[in-house]
């Protein structure tokens, strides 16, 4: 190799590292953890990590649409709580002890699932509508909806968890052929659907346009209001889907469930390189970001780091990942 080639290859390495900064952080984390604790790389543990990331990972997919449009949705944790308890109340076995609807016969699985998705989507749509019609900041609109949804969940469930769910629902928390966790399959389907929506539909392009310059989008003929409603509705719908996975894995839903998950979802999206200044972001990034958080949590647990220190480390990683990532968006002149 000549000197020039060495320099060139070094330059491409640096630019590649900048481009995929978070992936490198992730790879280094995986290498480090698996050297210290080889059990990390076992098939069971890898699926564990993916399963653990699936709930906030699904939320992060919707959050990616929202953040690319230069918004934020802090209501997704509460949406999970509300759609979760309603779904659970419709999915109890007939033999459940404290049954929410004592006379309700067991229904086909699709009914409670649709209920969760519809509730999630509707609350998101309301947030989107508020943002579009009243021009209040997304943070405020979804802060309001977050509080309302959590309140409604507590009222609906009377503050108590709803449990003894149908086996057909809890089976979704299990494994396909005893190998692949079904939450991971659901997560991957959501990834593919979101990827296509964002990259191959006019809706996706409008999301980028709204985040890139909302005034120009309006002038260019983009139906901004309609698209904002759709963006938040999709984000809410995915929070409803996350509720399904949550109920399936846990086997019961508490009205206070998933408190704080919205922040994890935002963190995952942000780590994955989606820019809060709008117009920039990828589904792939949201996946990598969620995975990085899950690897970190799992790895630190395997290494025997205490839960409190885990939080400190997680916070630091969020900051470092975003600092690294910002560097690639710095204007060159």
């Amino acid at each position: 190799m000549t000197l020039v080639e060495i320099i060139q290859s070094r330059e491409t390495l640096i630019s590649t590292m900048k481009k995929y900064g978070v992936v490198f952080v992730l790879v280094f984390m995986i290498i480090g953890i698996s050297i210290a604790q080889p059990a990390f790389l076992s098939r069971v543990n890898i699926f564990n990590v993916l399963t653990q990331s699936s709930i906030f990972g699904i939320m992060a997919l919707g959050m990616t649409f929202v953040i690319i449009s230069r918004g934020i949705d802090i209501s997704v944790g509460s949406i999970l709580g509300l759609s979760g308890v309603v779904m659970a109340s419709l999915a109890q076995t007939s033999s459940a002890v404290s049954k929410y609807y004592p006379n309700l016969a067991e229904m086909p699985l699709i009914v409670p699932i649709l209920a969760a998705l519809i509730i999630g989507g509707s609350i998101g749509a309301v947030s989107g509508w508020l943002i579009a019609k009243t021009n209040i900041p997304a943070f405020i609109a979804t802060l309001g909806m977050m509080t309302i949804a959590r309140g409604l969940a507590l009222i609906y469930a009377d503050g108590k968890p709803i449990s003894t769910l149908m086996p057909s629902l809890t089976a979704l928390g299990g494994k396909l052929f005893g190998v692949i966790p079904i939450p991971v399959i659901i997560y991957f389907i959501a990834i593919v659907v979101s990827w296509i929506l964002l990259n191959n539909t006019s809706f996706g392009k409008n999301v980028f346009a709204i985040g890139g310059n909302i005034t120009a989008a309006e002038v260019s003929g983009v139906n901004v209001s309609k698209n904002l409603v759709m963006i938040y509705a999709y984000c809410g719908l995915l929070a409803g889907l996350a509720a399904v996975v949550f109920a399936a894995r846990v086997g019961s839903v508490h009205p206070g469930a998933a408190t704080g998950y919205e922040l994890t979802a935002i963190a995952a999206t942000t780590i994955g390189g989606t820019s809060h200044s709008g117009g920039i972001g990828t589904i792939w990034g949201a996946f990598v970001g969620a995975l990085a958080l899950a690897v970190l949590r799992n790895g630190l647990t395997l290494l025997g780091v205490g839960a409190y220190w885990q939080q400190v480390t997680e916070g630091a990683i969020i900051i470092v990942a975003v600092v690294v990532d910002m560097r690639k968006n710095v204007k060159k002149h």
């Binding site: 296509i196 392009k205 310059n213 005034t215 309006e218 002038v219 003929g221 983009v222 060159k332 002149h333």
Partner: protein
């Protein structure tokens, strides 16, 4: 003058950015008490060199001598202390705070307790504002000022720093004729006090009016420096673009057809009153007037960006209801807006997405997915047709020069296949070469039978391009004039200022 002739000497300056050689060994000499203009096409390196002077960039190599001393690496606050101020192309005042707090930002006068002394700040501000003849209460909020006044405040700031060299990067692009006169008055006053001004502008007539000397750059290279008395417009343009630009306004007469767009008694609650006009197929209809005359607002209201109070709009003789831009686009209208950054481009998005965004529905295939093959074909087509210079279409549009960004926006609107085109200051802030290309394109579109409505503050442009000219003054139409040979700039200005018998 202290022994040496120049306050600023820059020798053999090279500035490299990753992948770009922005300045290739340029020089620049500014004399004491001199107004020195720096001209060149977009991308010539004017902004880069000014940023090097102001300490925003550090040159990769080269020598900077200021007031007899050789300067090493320095930043903006050090530059200010040395006596170098820069008034930026885009102002960034703190809008929600008063004038005086903007003036003394970061160096507020303090009392004994170390707290901000507002009374002293007020007195000092009054003095500084008086020095540049700006009669404003220092306690007025920045947000209540016009762009021109904000610029004056910036100049006041430079004065308050006792700057020896003031760099002005396109200060007049948003000013009215009157405001420009006021600015020039102040510039001459500063010059008489022995201060030097480096003036950057695209407007050649202004350069002839105000400067003592002029330096020309092209593609990051120094071309020439001349006394202003030693150069004329034609040679200036030739030096800038490196070729002859003969066809400044290539208007060709073309067949004018039936009335396409008709506006009757259109009224807006604040901006304009009772505006009526007709535009025919193949016609270029100019709208002239001073800033604040309501020209842009008329277009915005027709296009559905603003709400009208009364009046009607007819297309092909039929009354149409337009309540948002989407409706206007569906009626075959397109609107190249005045403020490229605010209402035009999507800075971080690709050139390609910037081209197709208004037309995205056309590319949705059978199952709702986008047909990328057709998108690529159409975009490539336009890049060839109107010569957009970009390394590739995945490039962010913010990396393109102003002229090329404007061409991308033109492509966006042409892709919608419009019959009526609104062009609001279509060549503002873009270089001479791109300007003439856009003029040619506009003429060609008119030749294809499209109706074109063009707002422009540059009288030569309106007069060179239009078939008819509507002149507005403070929200009312003062006249619709045939653009004949005997129409003079003076007569147009009389209409624009409302001074008609």
């Amino acid at each position: 003058m202290s022994g040496h002739k120049y306050i600023l000497q820059m020798k053999n300056i090279i500035k490299k950015f990753p992948g770009v050689l922005a300045l290739n060994g340029v020089q620049l000499d500014v004399g004491y008490g001199e107004i020195h203009s720096l001209i060149g096409e977009n991308g010539a390196g004017k902004s880069t060199i000014s940023k090097c002077i102001a300490g925003i960039y550090t040159p990769t190599s080269g020598e900077i001598i200021f007031d007899g001393k050789k300067l090493e690496k320095y930043n903006t606050s050090q530059a200010l202390k040395l006596g170098i101020s820069m008034i930026h192309q885009e102002l960034s005042p703190v809008l929600t705070r008063p004038i005086m707090e903007n003036l003394w930002l970061g160096r507020e006068p303090k009392n004994k307790l170390g707290l901000v002394d507002h009374k002293k700040m007020y007195e000092l501000s009054k003095l500084v504002l008086k020095e540049i003849d700006l009669e404003e209460d220092p306690r007025r909020l920045m947000s209540s000022l016009t762009v021109a006044k904000m610029q004056m405040v910036e100049i006041a700031k430079a004065v308050s720093y006792n700057s020896k060299l003031i760099i002005m990067d396109e200060p007049t692009s948003a000013l009215t004729e009157k405001e420009i006169k006021q600015l020039f008055k102040i510039m001459r006053k500063l010059k008489d006090q022995g201060k030097s001004i480096l003036y950057i502008s695209h407007k050649l007539d202004e350069i002839f009016e105000i400067s003592d000397r002029v330096t020309i750059y092209r593609d990051g290279q120094y071309i020439d420096s001349r006394e202003i008395s030693n150069i004329d417009t034609k040679s200036m343009i030739n030096l800038m673009v490196g070729r002859d630009v003969n066809e400044m306004f290539p208007k060709i007469d073309c067949a004018i057809g039936d009335v396409k767009l008709e506006v009757n008694h259109l009224t807006h609650s604040t901006h304009f009153n009772d505006v009526s006009f007709k535009v025919r197929r193949g016609e270029i209809f100019g709208i002239a007037g001073l800033v604040g005359a309501g020209r842009t607002e008329v277009l915005e209201t027709i296009f559905g960006i603003r709400k009208k109070v009364s009046g009607e709009i007819k297309i092909d003789g039929r009354k149409v209801a337009i309540s948002r831009p989407r409706d206007a686009i569906n009626y075959g209208m397109a609107f190249l807006t005045e403020d490229r950054r605010l209402t035009g481009i999507f800075p971080v998005l690709s050139v390609r997405l910037n081209i197709i965004i208004s037309n995205i529905r056309k590319y949705v295939g059978k199952i709702g997915l986008l047909d990328y093959k057709r998108i690529h074909e159409d975009c490539d087509d336009f890049v060839d047709k109107i010569q957009i210079k970009t390394p590739d279409l995945q490039q962010r549009i913010e990396n393109l020069s102003g002229g090329n960004q404007q061409k991308v926006l033109v492509a966006r609107w042409l892709l919608t296949g419009p019959d009526i085109l609104f062009l609001d200051e279509p060549t503002r802030g873009i270089d001479v070469g791109s300007k003439s290309e856009i003029h040619k394109l506009v003429t060609k579109l008119a030749g294809e039978g499209k109706s074109i409505v063009m707002v422009s503050s540059e009288l030569p442009e309106v007069m060179g391009m239009s078939d008819r000219i509507m002149v507005m003054h403070e929200g009312t139409v003062t006249g619709i004039l045939e653009n004949s040979k005997d129409l003079t700039q003076e007569r147009l200005m009389a209409y624009a200022t409302g001074n008609i018998e």
